[in-house]
Point group: C2
Chain length 432, copies 2
Amino acid sequence: MSDMLNIAIAGLGTVGTGTLQLLDRQDGLLAERALQPLRVVAVADLDTGRDRGVDLGKISCFDDALQMVAETDVDVVVELIGGSEGIAREVCEAAIAKGRHVITANKALLAHHGIEIAAQAEKAGVVLAYEAAVVGSVPIIKALREGLAGNRIARITGILNGTCNYILSAMRATGKEFDEVLAEAQSLGYAEADPSFDVDGVDAAHKLALLTAVAYGCIINFDGIYVEGIRHITARDIACAEELGYRIKLLGTTRRLEQGVEQRVHPCLIPTGAPLSHVEGVLNAVMVEGDFVGPAMFEGAGAGSHPTASAVVADMVDIARGVVIPTFGRPVTELEKMSSVPMKNHSGAYYIRLSVTDKPGVIADISAILRDGKISMESMLQHGRADASLGVVTVVMTTHETQESAMIEALAKIGALPVVEEPPCMIRIEQL
Amino acid sequence: MSDMLNIAIAGLGTVGTGTLQLLDRQDGLLAERALQPLRVVAVADLDTGRDRGVDLGKISCFDDALQMVAETDVDVVVELIGGSEGIAREVCEAAIAKGRHVITANKALLAHHGIEIAAQAEKAGVVLAYEAAVVGSVPIIKALREGLAGNRIARITGILNGTCNYILSAMRATGKEFDEVLAEAQSLGYAEADPSFDVDGVDAAHKLALLTAVAYGCIINFDGIYVEGIRHITARDIACAEELGYRIKLLGTTRRLEQGVEQRVHPCLIPTGAPLSHVEGVLNAVMVEGDFVGPAMFEGAGAGSHPTASAVVADMVDIARGVVIPTFGRPVTELEKMSSVPMKNHSGAYYIRLSVTDKPGVIADISAILRDGKISMESMLQHGRADASLGVVTVVMTTHETQESAMIEALAKIGALPVVEEPPCMIRIEQL
């Protein structure tokens, strides 16, 4: 390596701009810590002319990121374009093919093609780094690959999407419904105009796929993740959960079980005393359970220009220091192919909300179905006649641990009862 | 390096035994992650004969750690003897002199002699690693030196001592007084027979000294730390704090101010909503504030055989992987000597508890002293006549931000008032 780390950055959006700002502001500090200066020599963006508060004077500007990779001589290419296909992928692969180290914040790309790209990087003898892809403000990838290397990880569960956590926190604080809070989140810039990736759990699933691979040293299996978003969560669910001693959070959870790996993203009721229940607003947090450390929690900003830039730059410092660790903790050829435990085999407790006609015998019918499914009820709340004019009441139940397939079957039967007015709402309870 | 990392362990107490157990149980996993087997070839302890549930059959046993260092050919010496002087230091220095990497969990040793020992290690071209010295379960040293390398750290504040946190949590939960809870903690093994190092804040100060050096790249200054323990905290303080919306925690805090570095360990009132307020029992947590990441929190077990062993082994894996980072983030010769901000210059809010004679004019006298000291009161609670027979009432006040020297001066005057029955109790409020 030369006496300077030469860097090309593809994509000057929020994170790219933050990265330029960080490198500019911490110039001297980084040179000391990295034992050599970090110097951006080229950037690519469709609009490099816009004022970003950073002087691009001495930097070669390209509007074509592939052209930048082809024509510049650098040590590291940073991919901050985004998207699981297309130009982002081409930039990474072209950079690796030219023998450049690659840093990316692109969780979608890695969740879908991380193994192929890591294999290319390994073959080329370069680093593929992605700390910025998962909870930018805390070095969780580094913690899993290095700091907790002495542990077998049993479970990781985390609040991996700030938009969902903001919405659920605001729903709880204000009593408002999902749609209204989403609109507010959009106007505050906490949710995208098209919020699907966030509120439907896809973004959290991308991150979970990477955490799983690093934690267990296994091949990424994005398609093996059960994904469910938060659109169906109502203000009433949040209030009932609180009454029962729980908060509702969108969690990404990966567990290593005897039958394989269970990966799932869905809303959960978690006990109000659990550390994750206190993580509010746009913050993210990851709880790692190792066999020697026990539970360890990492909490901080999950997104945003500066926290993500901090992670990108930490990867640069590692590269400058010559730290080389296999992308997912082991050489790609040694990553295990673990079987995926289907959601129907999931075992846990459940929260069920029903809207039922208010007449005698309804609870008896429901209880009988649960009993026949060998599902044991833990608690029940019946809420007054909010919709008294309709003769409809809300019944909320929690169950003891049961198999998901039994629960689904019972709910289908319950939903088919003439007295049940709406499809039942089911939310899983996560013990923490 | 050979095709195997050969290790000698000095000290087979709780952590040494845990380390042997971990290396034994995760044998294959570690060989993969470290890209070579980690093999203990020698141990030293005054009693290597005791059954520790680990087979020492193929390991050379010594009762003299220095003899072990002198007579064995290893890559790494692990010092788990403890103590800031004597044999622990000699073992580290002898190992370095022989060109061995050194891993230690010894915060007392490093807080007092870390710079000298790091200088020796650097000169010898070996690693001095100490992740286990500060909150074993979370890789906070690694996070500061590597994962957050792009940040200027403004403040670190943490719950660094599990014994104190257990005692304060239990006092809050049960309403019992310090002495009673300490005795219970001792019987549960959460406090030592001689608890001074823990409850007087010394252990937390050792850790804080290391965090400060790594965070700012400065010379360790243990003597510059203001240290105050928790013996004077009463059940009434905890109850009053709760009434005012606070919990009491022993925090270690380091701040980088214009005038220098402020390092302090003392009980604090922290807002009930702050993430650190939810860290209960023997858990530790560290909150790091970087200029790019914002606040990031790391939480987990602070002590114990297995979490600490996990940190020791993570350092072994780093050494096996060839990761070499300067001990305190920069070469020793480049560590800054930062001036220490004395506690009298500290600026913050305060909680004051007074026992006063219950008669007219008392509050007027106290208020006048505060006014003359330009100290602005934020709230006041006067509690009923618990000691009515004595005619004594408890008055609790909180102030707005003020300088510590003004507060101390005012309290001396207040304490001298004839109506004030006991020396005033002052606890600092930490805004988080």
